[in-house]
C-alpha cells in the first residue's frame, strides 16, 4: 500500500539516496538497518514529509503523493515516533497527544478538559498505558513518554481514512530489557491498526520484530530479506561490506608507536549514564580509535578527555599529570587539541580569517603585553597553508568560505602549529570528498611521525581499521574488546560489528 520507487535525494555535494525501492503492506512490520550515514534517516524524513524527494515517486495505494511537510504526511496516515522525543515537557499528557488538533474539544473558545481527558484515555488504552492524562509529561519515565508518543501518532487512526504507517526511530536505544519486550508485544498487537517501519542499530531486535528487512548502505538498499530466512552475519556483512584499499588509508606509512611514552591514561573512568569503567592508554605515535554505534558513549569519553565533561569516578592523566580541573583551557594548555565533528560550529570561527583561526588557541605565543604580533601570525599561517596545501586565496581568506576539507586543515593547523601532541579527532572526514579524506589520512600519519598521539572516532569502520594502531570497541558505555591492529593483522569489519551490536 505504501511504496517508494526509485526515490532520489540530493544535497549539495552529496547524493544521499540513490534510487531507493521500498514498499510496505498493510499490517507489516518492516525493519530498516544500516550503519551511520547509510541514508536511513534521510529515507525516513522523506517518508514522513520532513524532506521532499528529488527523483522517483512516493505512492500510496498506487497513487503518487508528495508531502510538503510532516503535517501533510500525517493527513495521509503517516506518523513518526521520534527518537529524540517530540513531547513538550511542561504540558500535560493529553495536551501533548492533541497538540495542534485541540479544535475538536473547543467550544466558544473554551477547552473542554473533561472531553479531552476522555479522548486521551481512549488513546492511552491503545498503548496500554494506565496514567492520568492530566499528568505533566516531564514527570513520566522515558519509556512511558515513548508510549505517549506512540499514542499521539495513533490518534491518526480516528483522524484519517485509510491505513496508518508508523515509523519507529531507534525506539529501544534507551529502554531497559523488559521495556523493550513490552514495546515489542504492543507493536505486534497494534499490527491490526497500523503498519510499522522499525529502525534500529540492534540487529537482533530487528530480526526478532520485523517481517522483512531492508539493509542500507551508502544511500542504497543493498539487501532485502524476509526475517525468518535472514542470517544475522550475512546482514552485517552487507551493512559494512566493501573492499578496502590499503593504499587509501596510507597503511604503508604506519609506524609502530612508542610504548614507553604514554600521553593519555584513563584509569577506570566512569560517568554514569554515559560510560563505565574505561581504562585506556594513548602512546606517542599511536592512533587509538574508539568504535561503537551512535550513543555508545565514545563521544562522551572524548569530551571528558578534552575536559568538557567531568567524569564522576576514576582518573584521567595527561602526560603523567592527573587532571583535576576539567575545562578546555587546561587541556589545551597540556597540549590537547580537539577537532570536533561540528566543524562549522566548534572547529572554525567563520567570519575570521585563516590566520586568525590558526592562532586562536595560542594567542599567548603571538602577542606581547596583550598586543598581537600580526606579522608573525601571518607567517605561521602562510607556512601551514603551504605545508598542508590549504586551498585558500591567502591567509586573509574568511574560513567560512573555504571548503570542508580546507576548513578541516585549518583546524588541524591550529593545533599542530601550537605544538599540540594529543589530537582528538571526532569524525574528521565527515562530509569531505575523497581527495580531502586522503589528505586527512596523510596528516594523521604525519602527526604520528612527529610523535603525536591521536584518539579517533572514525566516520566508517573501514576508516577505523585502516588508520588505527589500536581499536577499542565500545557498546553501552563499556569497552567490549580491544584490538591490536598490526599491519597485515587487522581485525575485519565483521570482528568489530560483532562486538558493536
Amino acid at each position: 500500500m505504501f511504496e517508494l520507487r526509485k526515490v532520489e535525494k540530493n544535497f549539495p555535494n552529496v547524493r544521499a539516496l540513490k534510487g531507493i525501492d521500498f514498499r510496505i503492506e498493510r499490517g507489516e512490520i518492516i525493519g530498516l538497518v544500516g550503519e551511520n550515514g547509510a541514508g536511513k534517516s534521510t529515507l525516513m524524513k522523506i517518508i514522513y514529509g520532513a524532506y521532499q524527494h528529488d527523483g522517483g515517486e512516493v505512492l500510496i495505494d498506487g497513487k503518487a503523493v508528495r508531502f510538503e511537510n510532516p503535517r501533510q504526511a500525517m493527513q495521509k496516515g503517516i506518523g513518526m515516533v521520534f527518537q529524540e522525543q517530540s513531547l513538550i515537557g511542561n504540558l500535560s499528557v493529553m495536551e501533548n497527544i492533541f497538540l495542534g488538533f485541540e479544535q475538536q474539544f473547543v467550544r466558544f473558545g473554551v477547552v473542554n478538559w473533561k472531553k479531552m481527558a476522555a479522548a486521551a484515555r481512549f488513546q492511552l488504552a491503545k498503548v496500554k498505558l494506565k496514567i492520568d492524562p492530566k499528568t505533566i509529561t516531564s514527570k513520566l519515565s522515558f519509556a512511558q513518554r515513548q508510549l505517549v508518543e506512540l499514542a499521539k501518532v495513533l490518534t491518526l487512526e480516528e483522524r484519517v481514512d485509510g491505513d496508518l504507517v508508523i515509523l519507529l526511530d531507534e525506539p529501544t536505544s534507551v529502554l531497559a530489557k523488559e521495556e523493550v519486550e513490552l514495546l515489542f508485544r504492543l507493536v505486534r498487537e497494534l499490527r491490526s491498526r497500523a503498519s510499522f517501519i522499525f529502525v534500529s542499530h540492534r540487529l537482533d531486535e530487528v530480526l526478532e520484530l520485523a517481517d522483512r528487512i531492508y539493509v542500507m548502505k551508502d544511500g542504497e538498499v543493498v539487501d532485502h530479506v524476509v526475517s525468518t530466512e535472514a542470517v544475522a552475519e550475512n546482514i552485517q556483512r552487507r551493512m559494512v561490506g566493501r573492499d578496502i584499499d590499503k593504499e587509501y588509508y596510507r597503511e604503508e606509512k604506519q609506524r609502530p608507536y612508542l610504548p614507553e611514552k604514554v600521553l593519555v591514561e584513563l584509569d577506570k573512568v566512569s560517568l554514569p549514564g554515559k560510560y563505565y569503567d574505561i581504562s585506556l592508554k594513548l602512546h606517542a605515535g599511536e592512533v587509538l580509535t574508539l568504535v561503537g554505534v551512535e550513543g555508545s558513549g565514545r563521544e562522551a569519553i572524548l569530551r571528558s578527555i578534552f575536559g568538557l565533561q567531568r567524569p564522576l569516578f576514576g582518573t584521567i592523566s595527561i602526560k603523567g599529570d592527573r587532571v583535576r580541573s576539567f575545562n578546555a583551557r587546561n587541556s589545551v594548555a597540556r597540549g590537547v587539541g580537539y577537532i570536533p565533528r561540528e566543524r562549522k560550529v566548534e572547529g572554525i570561527v567563520s567570519g575570521m580569517s585563516v590566520y586568525e583561526n590558526i592562532t586562536l588557541s595560542q594567542l599567548r605565543n603571538y602577542s606581547s603585553a596583550g598586543f598581537l604580533k600580526i606579522p608573525k601570525e601571518k607567517a605561521t599561517a602562510r607556512e601551514w597553508i603551504s605545508k598542508l596545501h590549504i586551498k585558500a586565496p591567502s591567509e586573509y581568506a574568511d574560513c567560512g568560505h573555504l571548503s570542508g576539507g580546507n576548513q578541516q586543515k585549518v583546524v588541524l593547523s591550529k593545533w599542530r602549529s601550537g605544538g599540540s601532541d594529543i589530537i582528538l579527532l571526532d569524525h574528521p572526514t565527515r562530509g569531505l570528498d575523497i581527495g580531502a579524506k586522503e589528505d586527512v589520512y596523510d596528516m594523521v600519519r604525519a602527526m604520528n611521525a612527529d610523535g603525536a598521539g591521536i584518539i579517533l572516532i572514525a566516520d566508517t569502520l573501514e576508516e577505523a581499521i585502516g588508520l588505527s594502531h589500536t581499536i577499542a570497541v565500545i557498546k553501552d558505555g563499556k569497552i567490549q574488546k580491544q584490538f591490536d591492529c598490526k599491519q597485515g593483522a587487522r581485525p575485519s569489519l565483521f570482528d568489530l560489528v560483532h562486538y558493536m551490536i
Partner: protein, 313 residues
Amino acid sequence: MNLDKLKKHFPWITLVVLAIFVGLLDPNFLRPENLLQLAGDISTLFIMALGITFVIYIGGIDLSAQSVANMTTVLATLLLPLMGGFAALACIAIGAVFGLVSGFVSTRLKVPSFIATLAVGGVALSVGQYASGQKALYMDAAMREQAFGWMTGNIAGLPREMLIAAVLLVIGLVIERRMVVGRVLKAIGAGELAASASGLNVDRYKMIAFSMSGACAAIAGLLFAVKLSGGSPVIANGFLLPAIVAVLVGGTPLTGGVGGVLNTAIGALIVAVVRTSMLYLDVPATAQQIFFGLVLIVAIALTIDRSKVRTVK
C-alpha cells in the same frame, strides 16, 4: 560586486548620501566649522556607543549605559571638590566596576545580558538618586575649570570633546585590531563555541567587554557633567536609544562578530546628521524618538545574522 560585499559599505554610503541631502537643503551645513561642531556635539553619545559596541560585538547588549552615565554625572560633581582631577579616574573606575558586575551576572550567573544590564542599570540609578539626594547638583566653576577645563572648548579650531572621542576611537581600534582582547572578542561574537573549544577563557573576556562598556558610559557621563557643569540622576536620559542606534546603523549587528568601533563612529555621525536634518525639516524634537525607534528596527532587521539565531524568541 555582490550584495553581501556591498552591505559592508552601506554605513558610510548612507552617511555620505545623508550629508549631501542635508547639504542640498542648506549649503551652510557642509561648511567645515559646522561639520566640526556637529562632530563635537555627538562626541558624548559616540563614547557611550563605543562602549556598547564591544558588548554587541560579542552578541550581548548593554542597557545599563544610560543609567551608569547618569550616575557618573552625579558622582563626578560630588567627587570634584574632594579629589579634583582624580575624580575623573574614580568615575571611570566605578563605571568599569558596574560593567564588570553586569558581565559577571551575565556570564557566571547565566542571566541574559539584557536583563542583567537592566538590573545593574537599576542599581546605578538608585546610587545616582541616593548620592544626589534626587536633585540637580552644580559644579563649582573655578574647580571645574581647574580640573576638567581641558575637556571643553576648542583647540586649534577643533572641539576638544571631539579630540577626546577621537583618542578613544583610536584606543578602541587598537584594542579591536591589534590586541588579544579584540581578537578574542571577535571570536566570541563570530563563534562562541569554537572560541571556547580553542581553550579560550570566554567568560573572562566577556566580562572585559562589559567593563569596557561601563567605563565608556562613565566617560560619556563625565564629559556630559563637565559640559553642563553639574549632574543629576536623569540628565543623560534619552541617550540609550540613539547610542544603540549608532552601533547598529554603523553595521555591528545584534548577533555580533562583525563591525566594530569604526563602524560605530560612522553610525554616530549618521545619528548626528539625521538629527540636524530633522531640524532643517522642522520635525519636532519629540518625533525624533519615533524615528530612531523605527530606524533601530530596520537596522536590526537588515544586519542581524539569522544563521546564528536558530529560533527567534
